[in-house]
Amino acid sequence: MFESLSNRLNEVFDRLRRRGTLSEDDVGAALREIRIALLEADVALPVVRDFVAAVRAEAVGQAVLRSVTPGQMVVKIVHDHLVKVLGGEEERGPSGGPAGLDLNAPAPVAVMLVGLQGSGKTTTAAKIGLRLKTRERKKVLMASLDVQRPAAQEQLAQLGRQTGVATLPIVAGERPVAIARRALQVARGEGYDVVLLDTAGRLHVNEELMLEVAAVREATTPHQTLLVADAMTGQDAVNVAKAFAERTGLTGIVLTRVDGDARGGAALSMRAVTGKPIVFIGTGEKIDALEPFHPARIAGRILGMGDVVSLVERAAETADKDDADRLAARLEQGRFDLDDLASQLRQLRRMGGMSSMLGMLPGIGKIKRQIDAANLDEKLLARQEAIISSMTKSERKNPKLLNASRRIRIAQGSGTSVPEINRLLKQYQDMAGMMKKMKKLGQRGLMRHGLSALMPGGGGFHR
């Protein structure tokens, strides 16, 4: 459904180039595509409007019209502007990395988490608790003020046990403000550095509950108040962020469920409306799945361009350089055998599986889903490696040798089955075909068309 913006812009500009001239209307056409792309990514309408206006001002002045590939130029301007709005470079910590959570205040430092129902507050509280405990050696106390949702306090208590972070003992029937006061009292008495206040989910239009959270704020004057919001949030993000900012005084935002495939436009909406930084992103249900926020990564995602930069970084970190060089050399020659496939499988496994890697590539959501659906998991990769290692050297160099009886032998040797081997060989053939195509496309083609050019059937790119 969502094509990458750069593809769409290329279409716009391809049409234009055929006519050879570029009028005001043409620029307007590009901006319409940008508007739609942002809306499809769930950026809220008022924010989209401002954004497009700003980009227009920037783009028209620049050499967009004269540039060789106007589509790419526009994407670049849009991308850079997005990064800027999402936080850009200004939010660097002292070490140059993302700023993270500022706890620069007399202990115990109170940190309150607020947000809608089910946004991930309790999980995030535990994640932050664990992070502060292990990375910053802080003594952390967590307290649940959620007397609304059944077993919410018990949930935080269990997470505390899992992470080894202390939680305030539960007193049945105690009201939120009283719990918060007691938490600070205990923290002072027992020398805690940080108190994490996990609150009940509330709709920003629920006056009673908004008054309650305001009262907690008054009683505890938290140094940090974090809005915890779901990356899947749609247009309502602006209303929610605005209301919480007004009523609870936000200092930052945590975006959860970034491990999903939502484009995450809510990040832009909330950042633009509150002016507050996104301090963390939640990347999974596991208690250590909390990461600092990188504006460029989310920008790429919102635009559907993926994050080529972080892909390259990660590949460089994990891939075995010799393997990579060897593969590159063989691709040069247009050759690709089962040894190469085996080294690919090894690399994929090291990189945390194909699907997490594909998620970072341009506009590849649909293909990724197909692959996820096909269950290409790490276990499968390991089995496939086992199959290849049960082959003889000459079989690996020349897969054509693999007749029925050889396949039976390999199945027995690797503890797999003949159909599995057949599937692997089919996959190998597809990949070999792709590699030939890649060679033909060359570096430039690959940059322009993204990986989709290599995928059988062209992935989800064509209208």
Partner: protein, 338 residues
Amino acid sequence: MRSWWRSTPAAEDAAPPEPTAPPPPAEPAEDERRGWFSRLRAGLAKSSARLTDGINAIFTRRRLDDVALGELEDLLIASDMGVGVAEEVVDALRKTRFGQEVSPEEVRGALATEVVRLVQPVQKPLALDVAKKPFVILVIGVNGSGKTTTIGKLARRYQDEGRRVVLAAGDTFRAAAVEQLQIWGERAGCPVITRPQGADAAGLAYDALEMARRDGADVLLIDTAGRLHNKADLMAELQKIVRVLKKLDPGAPHAVLLVLDATVGQNAHAQAEIFRQMVGVTGIVMTKLDGTAKGGVLVSLAEKYGIPIHLIGVGESAEDLRPFEAEPYARSLVGLEA
């Protein structure tokens, strides 16, 4: 005035049991209703106020020209309807009304009609087949969407109808998810089948169905852990639950409810598509419509997949569950009183 989420007898699902007890005294019931009624009304009024204001601002004594239609389209987009469908709706309006002097009331009525046209076909109550004993309902969706709460609400409703309900605490992953469902079980007065955290959810579902059968239950509601649709292993786990249930009853699960949060944006499409592919969704429940989120994505989902929409959640209490009704939903979406 009748509010749109209040159930009409016609919209209620299959044959509630004959009332044996005398009807409750009118006064307290009325009071109670006013409680949630005014609460919800306030919430909904706010959610449509923005749209209403917008439409009034655009169309008071105004010609329906391209600018006006563009602004109208923006207002629909702000409900999460999606650019494509919002364009369609507005185009329909353009065909019949372009250039006319129109009042805000007229425009809203026409818009609502268009929205109704799209969602009417999917307005379907969740019908229990009493021949199935138990009728097995599997509840699925992404994390935090409201699955457990919806089960709690349904349990209460079926118990109130005099049915025997069993709950299965299939979220064996999230901390205290089992305890949460147990509390809902206590509230509704029905047994909850549990296993320790970390246990195999499919095994639990199997046991629960066996037990519910043995006990002659009418309805078995199976809770599941929240899962993002892009996680292959978790989707496979869901398929396993379905497979295992079919071993005992080839027709089970008789209903698979996808729970969507009203605040969700365009990602609802991916959710619907994948959950449907993987386990076959028979109906949608949309929760949290008591906020300012309008859940406009239902309109584009209806057009694209045609999955029945059964119910809506309008609060955190057991009684905050209503049948989905196209007309009032559409009218509220465009800022008209139901």
